[in-house]
Symmetry: C2
Subunit: 277 residues, 2 copies
């Protein structure tokens, strides 16, 4: 990124938007040059093109550039398939817990569109917003110290608050899952909350796509024995499934999802660029 581009961004930060003409005059270069600068900035996601100019990037202020945002899109297909499958476990009027992981986020999205009448407890701010916005289900948020990287609440206050709730079903995602051992997380903050919730839930469900299988991480959260149902996708090795079924666990395998029909195949993350054949 050249000097001029940096200055353009600075200006955007103050003004919000500029026309090409304005910038061309300001830097005493041709509009075409500005145009090229802006093209790059837009490609970087640092700014947004408008009709005759540029604008401050309007990506959702939160969840931009976060590492979470990237994770949200990994194995998206599988996660959606798992989410759809897990929906089948819900009965009307249940009280459920949804964990803050990315697989659970897909589950929450699916749920907020399809399910209704549920009471959803969560320590994830993202899931609170997602489910709450749907209006069809009520949400109870567990507060505490906010962890922006996970967009969820952690810490002692969260643990205290979690202890209030006794639920029908608790849905968890995980960093890693060894069928013969249990689930693993890479960081301590949220593992205690998970344990508290699981202990007070009638049914514990684990949502884990095939990439989670065989992965260990820093700390162990659940023994496999604590988990009643495992939902995974079709790419999980049969051997793993067998171990779980032999041990008496209910295992749901989500079928691969159907192809999308439309022609727009790209990822759609930035304006402009669109038409102009």
């Amino acid at each position: 990124m050249n000097q001029r581009q940096k200055q353009i961004l600075e200006r955007l930060e103050q003004q919000g938007a500029c026309t090409y003409h304005e910038l061309a005059a300001l830097f005493k270069v041709s509009a075409m040059t500005i145009r090229r600068d802006v093209d790059e900035l837009a490609n970087l996601g640092a700014a947004t093109k408008t009709l005759g100019g540029v604008q401050k990037a309007l990506v959702p202020a939160f969840m931009c550039e976060t590492e979470l945002h990237a994770r949200l899109n990994e194995q998206k297909e599988e996660k959606q398939a798992i989410a759809a499958q897990a929906l089948g476990l819900l009965a009307g009027n249940s009280t459920i817990f949804i964990d803050g992981g990315t697989t659970c986020w897909e589950f929450a999205r699916a749920l907020s569109k399809k399910a209704q009448g549920l009471t959803v407890v969560t320590n994830s701010a993202l899931i609170t917003l997602e489910v709450g916005q749907g209006q069809a289900n009520s949400v109870i948020g567990i507060g505490g110290d906010y962890d922006p990287d996970r967009m969820s609440f952690v810490g002692p206050a969260t643990e205290d608050a979690a202890a209030r709730y006794f639920l029908d079903i608790a849905f968890f995602s995980t960093k890693g899952f060894m069928p013969a051992e249990g689930t693993f997380e890479s960081a301590a903050p949220n593992f205690r909350i998970k344990q508290i919730i699981a202990r007070q839930a009638k049914k514990v469900v684990l949502l884990a796509d095939h990439t989670k299988f065989g992965q260990r991480a820093l700390c162990k959260v659940f023994n496999t024995a604590q988990i009643h149902v495992i939902v995974t996708d079709s790419q999980t090795p049969a051997a793993s499934l067998a171990i779980l079924r032999d041990a008496g666990h209910e295992v749901l395998v989500a079928p691969p999802r159907r192809e999308v029909t439309g022609r727009h195949e790209n990822g759609q993350t930035r304006p402009m660029e669109a038409a102009l054949g």
Copy 2:
């Protein structure tokens, strides 16, 4: 919003982006009609215009179509001016509370850019995200029953959690403010939380633009005597200010914000629209 517009949004939800031609063919109407539909959607913030078409709004999917979203833009200038002014009340390393109103949201936005090292307690999910994302300040969220209309947590669990925190400064917004009486809210849910927090804060600050003055609403929250500082904008009648100052309150009046220099005078919230003299 007409039927076609709703369908456009649905399609965007799936595809991410469409061209005008595509939509015109799909609905068997002229491109001009689609264009007009999209213009409206873009104005609502429900979608984003691109060069030859539309795109899924980059705004957080939640908080669109909500009545809150609309309120966020009312008196935006004044609110920003007030927010900037209120920033001056902050000392380093304070622990503060920020209320869930829209004025407070502007304050949170300003704060997350300018301030650092603060501990911010809030029962607003929006503010949690906003401030948390900035990384410069830590956030403690107060959980409870989630109220999607306000994007904040309310109810007994929230009240219990609120009772844990003793703060240096608490910032509140309000529905209505009668200088000789106090502040008013239209709904009961959040008034108790405000009272609890205010009781435990060393300093209580009210952020209220001129439109709040002289308005009563369903229930009274604070007596004016409970409020230490009032921050308002320059359009508030001098008589009101006098009453407050005579009663010994600190009153800050935010000066009108300087004009933007470029030609882009609008609030920069949506792409396109920009140039084209």
